[in-house]
Amino acid sequence: MRSFLYLCFCVFLISAFGVSAGDAKPYAKRIALPADSSEGLLSGYVKDSASGETIIGATIRVRSLKRGAISNKSGYFALYLPAGKVLKVEVSSLGYRTFSKTVRLNEGEKITENFILSQENLQGEEIVVETDRSKDRRESPQVSTVSLKPSQIASLPRAGEADIFRILQMIPGVQTVSEISAGLYIRGGSPDQNLILLDGSTLYNPNHFFGFFSTFNPDAIKDVDLIKGGFPAQYGGRLSAVLSVTNKDGDLYNTHGAVAIGLISSRATVETPVGNGAITIAARRTYIDAILNLTGLAKSLDLPSYYFYDLNGKFTQNLGDNDKIAVSGYGGLDKLYFDNGSQASQVDIRWGNQSGSASWTHLFSSNIFSKFNFTGSHYFSLLKFGLGDEAFTFDNQIYDYSLRADLEDITSSNNTLKTGFQLSQYQFGLNIKVGNNPPNADITQKPIYYAGYVSDEWKPTDQLAITPGLRIDGISTRSDVGIDPRLSVRYIINPEFTVKASYGIYHQYLDLASNPLFTAFDLWLPVDSTQAPQTAQQYVLGISTVPFEDFTLEVETYYKNMSNVVELKPNIITGNRLSDVFFVGSGYSYGFEVFLQKQVGDWTGWIGYSLAYTKRKFAAIDNNAPFSPTYDRRHDLNVVLTYRLNDRWTVGGTFTYATGQPYSQTTGFYNAGEPDYDGKLIPINGLKNSLRLEPYHRMDLSGTYSFSLFSDKKNAEFNIDIYNVYNHRNVWFRRINTDNTPATSENVRLLPILPTFGLQVKF
């Protein structure tokens, strides 16, 4: 199987350097899948007129030919067009005015044309038509994809902070266990089964504030792509989904920034042109600790000190027409500390991520786009607290150094080859200690993950697109290799109705142990000789259509079976092998999702509904009887609306209804005491998660007022948000109170109505 990886590497090199050596000649003459020689090639970048920032996912279309392309993560596109014809090319992207231009290519000619899109009405060649990005998504062969722009993130209600995870949780198929958990449970998968990338760097626990917020600063984000299932061969190492977040490159023309003050934290962003590129820096910090100290509450109520911060930076340089480099970094820390002088009640918890990436984007020729990415990522969680007179210490660290290379070869108007490889050097460390005793667990592993992939998007007709792919990967701690075939098919029945299907096998080499109620103390470990990698097969079938003008409707159904999934053993972790930490079992999930969306006009938003079934089975739990994991929600309905009242006011609202989460029924209890001391009653649970809490529902509202502050432009926004408008305190979990006789159960509830406000000023 390693020969396949070698083959991928060879394909990569041949595709890249074989062409670059003689770029003066038409590429089509030298490869097996030649472009039609009667064609020319139009390529370039799509950019924002105000900042020069490249635009991801813009559509470049020639309507008369029913032919088009979508700009990639770097904003680049290449489109073969018939020679000798005058053609009108339209370029569009959500939130921008559609730009059109006539072009005429000669036989074999390659034209580089950077299209500049404007958010303002401009004179000249532009036509004033707002675009609908869902149309681009409808025509893409990729299933189950959702894209978000910063403007969408900013316009929706927030609980103190705008947050992309909160918005993603409103998408059908994305579940959560509680409103204070930002973990994404996608189509029956747990959060560890999602690959989360920030500018190509893997993040392992992208959460702040015990999971209440994600680590992504909304001011620094340029684009968010979520693939809920059936993801292509270029992604791997996870079973369920891919979330790819791209940070802004920065303004190429002007220096500007923004300052936002909120109830929980403040943010600041600065962008400025540097050389042939730009630099962006964004920072955010909470001041909960400062408020508690200033008001004296920390001392009078014995409250712990808590804060989080994060810092994003990105530096880009265009090195001529064919090369661009980018260096980006992220650092974030959460810290909770409590010390009242007694070791028995001392708590010190820290967790965070640091990541950095250096990427080189290179055009080997107009139709061959490549990206080389070297990334480093460090995740740590340190938990220290008093257990009586002993100190308990939990220390988990992950270092991930990865080299990725991706190559996209647009070989003809109906064929795009993608290939690449990844090499990752991990270092995992886990140390659990009580007092001065020898560690209960002391695990250090330095495995190497390797992967290679190849996929081909082939469009035999205007309606049909077929994308077969193959990914092969493995980890050095095991001798077996994952062979992951992928296939997706798209068929456009008519311009308003598209059918898509996808199949794939997926392998995962890292396991996560975490408490689903808090997404803070995550423990990641690589598979070893005692435990095989998690494996899934995914089947997705969907339609995408236009039921009414400006509306799109997507309906998808999926089935996913999983093997070697893990469940944390309930006792303290003792041992140095993965089988000491986890139970190993199997699972499946299937469901049906409806996503009705409106992206243009004064009213925008969506209605999402999902019906989902998720089960897990473990020999050690209820004798292999299937049970629903905590995040299994049978019904999940989300309504998200934004209305632009006038030039100054925008209002928004969200409503969520979901089936109650499963919990285990307490069937009895026993007295646990010590000699001559009664001790306390310990509950005994029956079948795991066999009952459900009451249904979850909540409504949030928001209003945003735009105004001018020391400027003749509307450069400031004041937002007021009301979280949980009708004050329905949802159930977090169920607690058994054995202090009562007989014992009673009570629902521990979540947040009441919570108004928050914030101010943002741009300069």
Partner: protein, 281 residues
């Protein structure tokens, strides 16, 4: 495809989904399990093995109601089996006099309980005996300790024991009021003891056999017996699971259990004791 028919299919699917998506809850049945509480001490007989059944969730725990009577209880050591006897008038308690079996450090004891066709077993590896090594100097010569409240800062003394049979051994103190007629010690402003009526209190676990004796360990005036315990690993796990499980950050779960086919504790300790007199100021 006509638009209307297209969407009626989607609508029909949606309605069908809502109905098929209703699945019922599965109630779990209560199954009684044997609960064991037994602690062995070096140099002692087996004074009591407590046996109960678990209590159904809807019922109150009443010692006598769930005590297991008529159980077959055996202790095995060095290949020999010893049948335990029920303690007269104390339901669910079983014992073995010291004259029949004296618990010895360094040996492994196996408990087997059979009741109503259910058999539960457990093992403990008994620590070696310990002795308090600063008996003469740890306290004032008359061993009278004076305090007005149980404020932690009123007094502190250090009690040391040995030998250390295992570098990983953990230790604990048991403080027993021998005569509660002397009255309760007033609580200090550092908070009342939780077990206001209990006449036995336990310290936290310590990693070395040097225990700080401070005033908050005492609940009652009068004579108090300080038992210095060297714990086996079962007791340590039990203490962590049951005692510390209430800490929301604790990774220890109450399910940390060493009884096969049952619940509870079968543990042992090496020990020594010293008695002091707590006198009101």
């Amino acid at each position: 495809m006509k638009v209307s028919s297209k969407y009626s299919v989607v609508l029909a699917l949606l309605i069908a989904a809502i109905f098929v998506g209703c699945d019922g809850a599965i109630e779990s049945n209560y199954t009684p399990q044997i609960v064991v509480q037994s602690f062995l001490y070096t140099g002692e007989g087996i004074d009591s093995v407590l046996l109960h059944y678990t209590t159904p969730y809807t019922k109150s725990y009443i010692d006598s109601e769930y005590a297991i009577t008529g159980a077959d209880v055996k202790i095995s050591v060095d290949g020999a089996d010893f049948q335990l006897l029920p303690i007269p008038n104390r339901k669910g308690r079983y014992y073995l006099p010291k004259s029949t079996l004296t618990v010895q450090g360094g040996k492994v004891y196996t408990l087997t309980v059979t009741a109503d066709g259910i058999t539960a077993t457990a093992q403990t590896s008994v620590p070696l005996p310990i002795q308090i090594t600063n008996r003469a100097t740890a306290f004032p010569a008359d061993r009278i300790l004076v305090l007005d409240t149980n404020d932690a800062t009123t007094f502190t003394y250090t009690l040391t024991a040995g030998p250390v049979d295992n570098p990983h051994r953990l230790y604990m103190l048991q403080i027993t009021s021998i005569d509660t007629t002397y009255g309760k010690i007033p609580t200090s402003n550092q908070g009342p003891p939780v077990d206001t009526s209990a006449y036995v209190r336990y310290s936290f676990i310590q990693t070395a056999p040097n225990m700080i004796i401070y005033s908050r360990l005492f609940g009652w005036f009068g004579p108090n017996k300080i038992k210095f315990l060297a714990l086996d690993s079962n007791w340590v796990d039990y203490k962590r699971a049951v005692g510390y499980g209430a800490n929301s950050f604790s990774p220890f779960q109450p399910s940390l259990n060493h009884i096969n086919n049952g619940l509870g504790i079968f543990a042992s300790a090496g020990w020594d004791s010293i008695t002091v007199f707590i006198k009101p100021k």
